[in-house]
Symmetry: C2
Subunit: 249 residues, 2 copies
DNA sequence: AGGACCCTTCGGTGACGGCCGAACGGTCGC
DNA sequence: GCGACCGTTCGGCCGTCACCGAAGGGTCCT
């Protein structure tokens, strides 16, 4: 905002400046790439992020300083490493909804290598989205929960009393009473369909890890459904092999 | 992203580009100012927005073209006027949460004139926030509804059955069954406290206008509580003069 | 028809900011 | 302690983009 027309505006809301300053944090491809990578909910080192985005370490440092100063990321220094995480669930959800609203890269991201294709498929099948489950698995669980009457969508997503009982039966503890919505819908970028997020989505995901239903594939966001997980979903959600098909292959 | 390190990245997620491109739309003070102004949910003409932001008409045109092309705004041409609105409630909510997360303009916006001070007070007392009520009035109604057991916050905001009955009793019709959350919490920028948004918040606000409880002050986002509105709030919500105090003065 | 008004197009200007590489201070491991 | 490694600081480069004013097309009112 230079060029300067009026020497000093009466104050047509200094707020516009604030919003713009914050939005600018995500308005750079490199910084945006950092945030998207960090959507997996884990902490990355500065150099990991730099490599991921394809920029020099010095460039990454500058960007990370901005993001931390702006409150988008938080850092933790350990020895010679600088670990970075998204500042919190609110931030993660903001990045998610921003990404969901952004027009999809028209260019249908070309896949250049077999391993990249495999990685992509694994991500499409099942992955974590910050702290809950996404991908075909996340969508399948969500739709099945709806079919079983555990979730309702009319007039906003909500957990039914049967849903509450089902969670209790599983032994899933939902941290209650804070400001975070219990259930929230999160749009899946591969499936283009909503899946379960919010406190319940996070608790369910944590339970799935804890009970060995799913395991991480390497150090990516992708997860694999274990045999135990397969059985558990059939037992507790009465999921058919058919609904699970896109997930197991 | 120039400077070019690798000639052509394997594809470290072209997604970063998309997110950045979208975020850039809000990353300019002028464009951000436009969006904040449009948060009142009404359509503004291009020149109104230009004057509001203190830029030349030609500059405004450029910005508006970008925002429309990016899907943030929608336009409607009428004669020699170009009317602009936010594209939808999703967009409005995104702008809201982005603005809520942006660090407040450290500079405590200096108020230069008496009329500006009056305007500011009017806005702080009661205003529309896209399509629902904000300001002291919005917050007061929300807290009272909570006190009366119409709303609960535990494990995510929700309407109780008493709340549903209360709305029906008022004759408020909540458009159900679409993807929009029935109740949603929206952070107030003056009060720094949450108030009721979502489909119910919008319906309640519409009802308040329709029943003459509130009227717009001039052509701003500010609204005034009428005598009828005052009585209605006491009758239907059992609101005391005390809880209404910050609103009526 | 004429004039006022709303908006758009176009050229030109200047600042901001993202990028790199090289040099440097910490921290770890052998 | 000596190398390997992670991160930071500093200059310098250059593209992008927000801005304006002047000129021009449309639309409405009288």
């Amino acid at each position: 905002m230079h060029g300067m027309s009026a020497p000093d505006m009466p104050s047509p809301s200094v707020r516009g400046q604030d919003l713009a300053a914050f939005a600018r944090l995500l308005a750079d491809p490199t910084r945006a790439g950092f945030c998207l990578a960090l959507l997996d909910g884990r902490a990355w080192t500065a150099s990991e992020l730099a490599r991921h985005a394809g920029v020099a370490a010095s460039t990454a440092t500058e960007h990370l300083n901005l993001l931390v100063a702006g409150g988008v990321l938080v850092q933790e220094r350990q020895g010679r490493h600088r670990y970075l995480r998204l500042a919190g669930t609110e931030t993660a959800e903001l990045v998610e909804s921003l990404a969901a609203m952004a027009p999809r890269g028209s260019v249908l991201t070309p896949v250049r290598s077999l391993s990249a294709a495999g990685r992509r498929n694994a991500l499409a099948r099942a992955r974590t989205c910050y702290d809950h489950l996404a991908g075909a698995l996340g969508v399948a669980i969500t739709t099945t929960m709806t079919d079983r009457g555990l979730l309702v969508w009319e007039g906003g997503l909500a957990l039914t009393s049967r849903g509450t009982a089902w969670l209790a039966d599983l032994g899933v503890v939902v941290p209650a009473a804070n400001r975070r919505p219990a259930v929230r819908s999160c749009l899946d970028w591969t499936e283009r369909r909503p899946h379960l997020a919010g406190a319940v989505g996070a608790a369910l995901c944590a339970h799935a890890f804890g009970a060995g239903w799913i395991v991480r594939i390497g150090s990516t966001r992708a997860v694999a459904l274990t045999a135990a997980g397969h059985d558990a979903l059939r037992a507790h959600l009465d999921m058919t092999d058919q609904t699970l098909a896109p997930v197991v292959r």
